[in-house]
């Protein structure tokens, strides 16, 4: 952050998505070439001496090695495609809208047809233009900001002269079976431990390097602990391992760690980054939501070693699996972790689109390693993904049953799954058994049915049938293809949701208009879903009228001029009663307001929710009237009967009498004949009348049902994926704008053409997508998975751009190893624990991470892995480590997120303390939980982890930067978390010394002090201190002690910090002095670094 102090060396490891700086020649390529060069040299018998001379030559190392001099084959993927991708594709790539001169340099045909003459660079237009000195014709054009380096130009020239061999982008090639390389022996006897090493050693040798020796045992076990469980071992555990000389000693450690419950917690950390998991919904109001059941699912999935293919399938489409378990539903929360808008006045459609795009980007980045988001506004500039294909992929996620804006709504939003406690389950079961008891009381009462029918019959005759309004249309429901059933009002149709509408020989002679009153009625069974009727043109912004039953049994009625902006939409607040017939009536008064469109169940008006009330324009559609569907969609499944349409507003009395009349008429018409129809009619009428008859019991049941709902609403929920009952059309959005759909062409879910397509067994929904991902034809998913595992251990992927396997990403340093691992991983049943063990069992992983001058010169970035990884720990790990060493850490797993210490006022400054109130840290054990469980408020990051590069979890992030800033130093020295940890460690140190010297007064003696410090050092650094280290700390201690003896109030103040009680059995001044020593220990580079 300031001046030369940080200019060159500070930090800056790779931030996600920042693989490369423009105009910096790519060292991986140079290196790869060097390796190829050496390999080829063997075959071509080029003097090894020359090569070695070359390798040690500074020019070669730092200024770019020109391939040209060596007459070797240029590798298209490693050397050519990256140049073309970075410098040329923007105008000559997949994006058709920005393509210049119809030239594509991402396609062999186009390139060779127009710009490249294979074998003749001088006569290739490509070279002519690149070398041109004319500003008008030189390529790349100066205004593009790109230019080619001399090395790049020479590489291109050489490649063309070699015949310009072409290859498809490596990541889209199928994962190929790899032969294991020959065993390489190094001079010092270093040998491969497993297959991984054979690949790695080949490259190390080719790079002219030697593998590093195995790390010292204390370093190795610490590395394993930090990698697998995110916590350090105790000094005793280290000692046990050091003393265990059996060959299997390290394997035993790995096995124990893989079986530890902390394994799942450690593995979850990076997955939560990818899944943008947080405890708030993220935009400006940033209200609390509770998605921790999903977080706990992730931890359990790792701990139970759920196979990675299932890990994918359940998160993408667990809800679509046959009879999904609660766990499988919870897993789908992966795609509900996106932020969601609650800002008043926001536009529904706009945020619906944003949510969906976030899901596409997150899914593509985390599983496919593709930057699909680029193709939102235009064809992808670098990868073969058109804008249309983007929206086809988008269509997989576009049917989620959620709103784009939840106006000022707090907490979780639908779709939800309850995850009740045992007590809650018991209470519910009790209510349900009471309902069952009441239901049992509802017995068929044939006599009362007859009596009631008689009453209705006489009422009808008194009122006179003629006074009932006549329908202008009654659907004749007698097509031969349909199965017929019986309703209380006569024969019914059983429809199955198939796309063949009921034939209507003569559709109603009626024009729906927004100023024309009308009514309609129909008899429907409780399990029905879809459109009762419809005259609606989906292709004309849904203009028209319909009545549909939603997936949850509620009835929704529409009058639409233009969907959402100019429409009335009303939804019943209750669902159709299950297992019985309901007589549904809707009446519209022609006044153009939602309040004038009413719904009745069995003659009783039902409460409704007004979804939209903004009708102005005409509603008459230019499509046919249909029963059992709209024009194209909402195909009805269930039973319906006796659809009637009226050109007037029915009164409440009309509706009740129509219902009674229909039942009586049907009953009577079947009365004389003792036929099958007769008994069916009798039964159905009896049931219907019973349901009306036992209204007091039904009411009680309803009340209990309300109580159940109330209790359910108090249950913990988690957000899940669930598709809408109505299919939401997907269109290409011009320039990615929500309000610019290309409605001429509805799009259906599909995979981009550059990748293998869905098979017949893979439906084009999310489940099909998930199965496609783990299909063995998929070239990306397994590679991404093993590369990310590799990254976990080495902080550098075999493909350095962990998040981008597209053409803009880095080519793999070890393509054969990548494929071998991916293939082996799939064949092993996507077994993550096995993969982790495999990597850790390699000699490559177990190497010392110390640098040598040779490494510094030849492979500073450690891409050839001739030494072990060394990097600062993540923010979560650093805090957990301090808590663990000091003995404060609580190992409780799972549950709602907790609030550790945080400086006062942070929330209030930004959010005014709104929404979550002022931040109050926990009291008691929850203060010391693992950092994974720290409450994540997206708009105000928790500084303890945020200072150490934890993301804000707003978008998917699969890679964290590792920076090194003064704010981190301040946090580790001054944050109460670390001061308290230091004091607790100091207490242990002093007790340790006291144990050895029973006389407490002796503790002050130098000898005891040294012992205490040695103990603290061993607990923290996990090795014995050197003499310099011990002397430095011991001398320091004496200085601190002198100060605190002279200033006991300062000692008092320092040792009181933190909620944990200070150990009063110890001398406060000694404790203060030792706390200062412990604080140094917790700040050591070696302690906050994995070596």
């Amino acid at each position: 952050m300031t001046s030369d102090v940080t200019s060159g060396r500070s930090n800056v490891s790779c931030r996600p998505n920042v693989p490369c700086r423009p105009n910096v020649s790519c060292r991986p390529n140079v290196w790869f070439y060097a390796v190829r060069c050496v390999l080829a040299a063997k075959e071509n018998r080029i003097s090894l001496f020359v090569l070695l001379a070359c390798i040690t030559c500074n020019e070669f190392l730092f200024n770019g090695f020109t391939a040209v001099a060596w007459g070797q084959d240029i590798n298209f993927r490693q050397q050519i495609q990256p140049i073309l991708a970075k410098k040329c594709y923007a105008c000559h790539g997949p994006d058709s809208t920005h393509r210049e001169a119809e030239l594509r340099l991402d396609q062999e045909d186009s390139a060779k047809g127009q710009a490249i003459t294979a074998g003749d660079a001088d006569n290739s237009e490509l070279m002519v233009r690149i070398l041109s000195t004319d500003v008008q014709s030189v390529m790349p054009p100066p205004e593009s900001g790109h230019s080619l380096t001399p090395t790049e130009i020479e590489t291109l020239r050489k490649w063309i002269n070699q015949g310009a061999p072409w290859q498809q982008h490596w990541a889209f090639d199928p994962i190929s079976k790899q032969e294991l390389p020959k065993v390489v022996q190094f001079a010092d006897g270093a040998g491969a431990k497993n297959e991984i090493d054979r690949f790695i050693y080949r490259s190390i040798q080719a790079a002219g390097l030697q593998p590093s020796p195995t790390a010292e045992k204390h370093t190795l076990i610490r590395r394993a602990y930090l990698d697998l469980i995110g916590l350090p071992p105790t000094f005793e555990q280290v000692q046990a391992f050091v003393n265990d000389t059996r060959p299997v000693a390290f394997e035993k450690v790995i096995d124990e760690l893989l079986a530890s419950p902390q394994y799942g917690e450690q593995m979850a950390v990076s997955w939560l980054d990818a899944a943008r998991f947080a405890d708030t919904n993220g935009y400006q109001n940033d209200f609390y939501r509770s998605m921790w059941p999903w977080r706990d699912w992730v931890i359990n999935a790792f701990n139970q070693n759920l196979s990675y293919d299932q890990f994918i399938i359940q998160q993408i489409a667990g809800d679509l699996l046959p009879a999904p378990s609660n766990d499988q539903m919870i897993a789908t929360g992966f795609n509900r972790n996106n932020r969601s808008v609650t800002e008043g006045g926001s536009i529904e459609e706009e945020w619906q689109v944003e949510n969906c795009i976030d899901r596409v980007e997150t899914t593509a980045a985390s599983f496919l390693g593709l930057t699909l988001g680029c193709a939102r506004c235009h064809d992808h500039k670098y990868d073969p993904i058109s804008q249309k294909e983007f929206y086809q992929f988008y269509a997989f996620f576009n049917n989620v049953d959620e709103k784009g804006v939840y106006n000022e709504r707090r907490g979780n939003t639908e779709p939800l799954l309850s995850v009740p406690t045992a007590t809650q389950i018991a209470a519910l079961e009790q209510l349900q058994s009471r309902i069952a008891g009441l239901k049992a009381k509802i017995t068929p009462a044939a006599t009362s049915t007859t009596e009631l029918l008689n009453q209705w019959r006489s009422q009808n005759s008194t009122a006179g049938q003629d006074s009932l309004p006549s329908p202008i249309f009654v659907a004749k429901l007698t097509p031969e293809v349909k199965t017929l059933g019986m309703s209380p009002a006569g024969p019914s149709l059983q429809l199955t949701g198939q796309p063949d509408s009921v034939a209507l020989p003569s559709p109603p002679d009626f024009l729906f208009k927004n100023d024309q009153a009308f009514s309609w009625s129909a008899w429907i069974t409780g399990d029905s879903r879809g459109a009762i009727f419809g005259q609606m043109d989906e292709s004309d912004a849904y203009r028209g009228v319909d009545g549909i039953i939603l997936g949850d049994g509620r009835v929704k009625i529409h009058l639409i001029s233009q969907w959402r902006t100019d429409a009335i939409a009303v939804i019943s607040k209750v669902s159709l009663p299950k297992d019985q017939w309901t007589f549904i009536t809707a009446t519209y008064d022609g006044a153009g307001k939602a309040s004038g469109y009413k719904l009745y169940f069995n003659g009783k008006k039902v409460n409704v929710e007004v979804d939209i009330d903004a009708l102005n324009g005409p509603i008459s559609p230019k499509v046919l009237f249909k029963i059992g569907q709209r024009s194209q969609s909402e195909l009805f499944s269930g039973q319906l009967a006796d659809f009637r349409l009226y050109d007037q507003l029915l009164s409440d009395d009309h509706i009740v009498r129509s219902m009674k009349h229909a039942v009586v008429a049907n009953y009577d018409s079947n009365l004389p004949q003792p036929s099958q129809d007769y008994s069916a009619a009798q039964e159905v009428a009896t049931q219907f009348i019973n349901s009306l008859e036992h209204q007091s019991i039904t009411q009680k049941i309803g009340e209990l049902q309300v109580e159940i709902d109330k209790q359910k609403s108090q249950q913990q929920t988690t957000m899940i994926m669930r598709d809408r009952p109505e299919y939401r059309e997907t269109y290409l959005l011009r320039r990615g704008q929500y309000d610019q759909p290309e409605t001429s062409e509805p799009l259906w879910p599909a995979i981009p053409k550059a990748l293998p397509q869905l098979t017949a067994q893979q439906p084009n929904n999310r489940l099909g997508l998930a199965r496609w991902m783990v299909d063995e034809r998929n070239p990306l998913v397994a590679r991404i998975a093993v590369n990310r595992a590799w990254y976990k251990f080495f902080k550098r992927g075999l493909v350095e751009s962990v998040d981008n396997f597209g053409r803009q990403g880095a080519p793999p340093t070890h393509p054969e190893l990548l494929d071998w691992l991916a293939d082996d991983f799939r064949k092993s049943g996507w077994d993550l624990k096995r993969l982790h063990k495999q990597i850790m069992s390699s000699a490559t992983y177990q190497q010392s991470s110390n640098l040598t001058e040779e490494f510094a010169a030849l492979d500073p970035a450690n891409q050839w892995l001739a030494r072990g990884p060394r990097h600062r720990l993540g923010g979560e790990q650093i805090r957990d480590l301090a808590l663990s060493i000091s003995g404060l850490l609580q190992n409780k797993m799972g549950g709602p997120s907790v609030r550790p210490y945080q400086p006062d006022g942070l929330w209030e400054e930004l959010a005014g303390g709104a929404n979550d109130g002022p931040y109050k840290h926990e009291v008691g054990p929850d203060l010391y939980r693992r950092s994974l469980y720290t409450y994540r408020k997206r708009t105000v990051s928790h500084p303890t982890v945020a200072s150490f590069d934890a993301p804000s979890w707003e978008i998917c992030q699969v890679k964290r930067s590792i920076t090194n800033t003064p704010l981190q130093s301040l946090a580790l020295l001054n944050d109460v978390t670390y001061v308290e940890a230091a004091r607790n460690l100091a207490q242990q140190m002093l007790h340790q010394a006291a144990q050895n010297k029973p006389n407490a007064a002796q503790v002050a003696q130098e000898n005891s002090v040294a012992q205490a410090i040695e103990f603290g050092f061993q607990s923290t650094v996990l090795r014995k201190p050197t003499i310099i280290e011990l002397d430095t700390l011991t001398n320091g201690y004496q200085q601190y002690l002198t100060y605190y003896q002279a200033n006991p109030d300062q000692a008092e103040a320092l040792t009181k910090i933190g909620e944990s009680k200070s150990d009063t059995s110890l001398s406060t001044t000694q404790l203060a002095a030792m706390t200062s020593v412990a604080s140094i220990l917790l700040n050591l580079d070696e302690v906050i670094t994995k070596e």
């Binding site: 952050m1 300031t2 001046s3 030369d4 940080t6 200019s7 060396r9 930090n11 800056v12 996600p16 998505n17 920042v18 693989p19 490369c20 700086r21 423009p22 910096v24 060292r27 991986p28 205004e143 993220g282 400006q284 006045g345 926001s346 930057t371 680029c374 992808h380 500039k381 804006v405 106006n407 981008n804 040598t852 001058e853 510094a856 010169a857 970035a861 060394r870 005014g912 709104a914 997206r938 708009t939 590069d949 978008i955 992030q957 090194n964 704010l967 130093s969 301040l970 946090a971 944050d975 430095t1032 200085q1039 601190y1040 008092e1052 009181k1056 910090i1057 700040n1083 580079d1085 070696e1086 670094t1089």
Partner: protein
């Protein structure tokens, strides 16, 4: 190749050239201080006034692209969006049209927020406040901003800003990062990344927030607004708080005086140098340096915050609120002190501009909060010779509607969000003084001439700093990500000298 690799590589060259010298001595030499005297050292160099600036360091090679007119930026962000009708866009003709319906041709199908899209009528609400011509330039300024009126000749009013977002969160995110979507670097982070640091003791990008008096619950702010997005985390804005601890964890814990801390740091360094010698990892050397920088910040930040050296006459300029920590006035004064210390990018956020209702009374209060301190900052900078190379910007995330939202009486009215045009004020740093840029229609509703898109403003700010906005990029999601977005944008060169 990533940035990290490159920095390592560069370091290695130095390393190797120095072979023969012990690693420990290299490390110590590279730190450039002697632990024995460090404790007594005064880390703020007073010999050159407060400016201990050396050549900028840590920026990208090749930058600046051209000669800059500004070295530093102060962005006075008015969060919640002040109305242009009551600040800088004088529309006298509206008085005659008061309460008449805004013609549909003017609205022209514009999308509305959910707050007014259901309104059946869109009555024109002229400003209740008068305007006067100010300065030699005669620029029209609202009576609500008398002090800014006095410095109007120092800068340019842009009346034709326009944006794409109509709700606060996306709009302010757009302003700060060039994109409505999360995850992109903020403008201060871009500038810090591109140009590097000019000072030794303070962050390059500092942020302060204050709460307005005009609206009790103003729009909240979020860390994202000054975040570093995909850039390395060290470029993110450091929030200076008004609390006892202006920077998080800046103060030593109770019972740990500076002399003890100094000794601890010396011991820590001794031990870390052992690690450096063993591992040869340059990150260790960096870590040692960062602990020393942290120590210097512990002195430099309190020094920055300590106003005892400010003459009463200066404090008076900023108005009475300057005596209260956490106010906009105090933050303006602190901004000047940061600029004196060569902080590259300073940003203030003042909450409370969101006058959906009760605009006249609420906006009067907001203006009272900000008018005098903003003007004082500009003239104070000028008196110290700092305005010439410091760009000062005053403005919000969008404008307000000409039509009334909600209750409309003789005494009160409100305005909804309006993205199509709004006004900002820019001064110093090469901005042509006494100018007005852009013309809006008679309703102040649409741009008639010289529109300035938010991304154009980004391009302009970068241009003033010597940066070609097309060339400051970082690869992100397959694109060369720019602060100025993907569409073609242009710096407004006409307003720069």
């Amino acid at each position: 190749m990533n940035l990290h690799d490159e920095s390592i590589r560069n370091n290695r060259r130095v390393f190797l050239k120095s072979s023969g010298i012990s690693l420990g001595s290299i490390a110590a030499a590279s730190l450039g201080f002697n632990p024995l005297t460090a404790a007594q050292a005064n880390w703020v160099n007073n010999d050159t006034g407060l400016r201990n600036a050396s050549e900028p360091s840590g920026g990208l090679p090749g930058l600046p692209h051209h000669k800059p007119t500004a070295k530093r930026v102060i962005y006075l962000f008015q969060s919640g969006a002040p109305s242009q009708y009551e600040t800088f866009d004088y529309k006298p003709g509206l008085r005659k049209l008061a309460k008449t319906e805004l013609p549909a041709t003017i609205r022209n199908g514009q999308r509305l927020t959910g707050m007014t899209s259901g309104q059946s009528s869109f009555p024109i609400a002229p400003s209740m406040f008068d305007f006067k011509q100010k300065g030699e330039s005669g620029t029209w300024v609202s009576d609500l901003l008398p002090h800014l009126g006095q410095v109007v000749d120092k800068g340019c009013v842009i009346r034709t800003m326009h944006t794409e977002a109509i709700n606060h969160d996306p709009a302010i995110t757009f302003f700060q990062t060039g994109s409505q979507l999360a995850g992109r670097p903020s403008m201060g982070a871009w500038v810090a990344y591109g140009l590097g640091s000019m000072n030794q003791n303070l962050p390059d990008y500092m942020v302060m927030v204050s709460r307005g008096t005009g609206r009790a619950a103003g729009q909240p702010l979020y860390d994202r607004l000054w975040g570093s997005g995909v850039l390395p985390g060290k470029h993110q804005g450091v929030k200076l708080r008004s609390a006892a601890e202006p920077i998080l964890y800046l103060s030593n814990p109770a019972g740990c005086p500076p002399e003890i801390r100094r000794r601890m740091l010396d011991d820590l360094q001794t031990l870390n140098q052992q690690t450096l010698a063993r591992t040869m990892d340059s990150e260790v050397a960096t870590r040692i340096q960062q602990y020393e920088l942290a120590f210097r910040m512990q002195t430099a930040v309190p020094d920055l915050m300590d106003l005892s050296d400010e003459p009463a006459s200066v404090l008076e300029k900023y108005g009475p609120e300057v005596h209260k920590p956490g106010t906009y006035a105090r933050n303006c004064l602190l901004a000047r002190r940061m600029i004196e210390r060569d902080v590259r990018f300073v940003q203030l956020f003042h909450m409370g501009w969101d006058q959906h209702d009760n605009l006249p009374s609420h906006m009067s209060k907001q203006c009272l909060d900000t008018d005098q301190p903003s003007a004082a900052l500009i003239s104070d900078l000028q008196e110290r010779g700092l305005l010439d190379d410091t760009l000062v910007i005053w403005g919000g995330e969008f404008g307000r509607t000409v039509y009334c939202q909600g209750q409309f009486t003789e005494k009160t009215y409100g305005r909804d969000h309006h993205p199509r045009c709004f006004s900002i004020f820019m001064a110093g740093g090469g901005v042509k003084g006494g100018t007005v840029y852009g013309t809006t229609d008679e309703f102040g509703y649409n741009v008639v001439e010289n529109p300035v898109h938010v991304n154009d403003l980004h391009a302009t700010i970068l241009h003033a700093l010597g940066i070609d906005h097309r060339k400051l990029t970082i690869p992100f999601q397959g694109l060369d990500l720019k602060l100025s977005g993907v569409e073609q944008r242009n710096p407004i060169l006409e307003i720069l000298t």
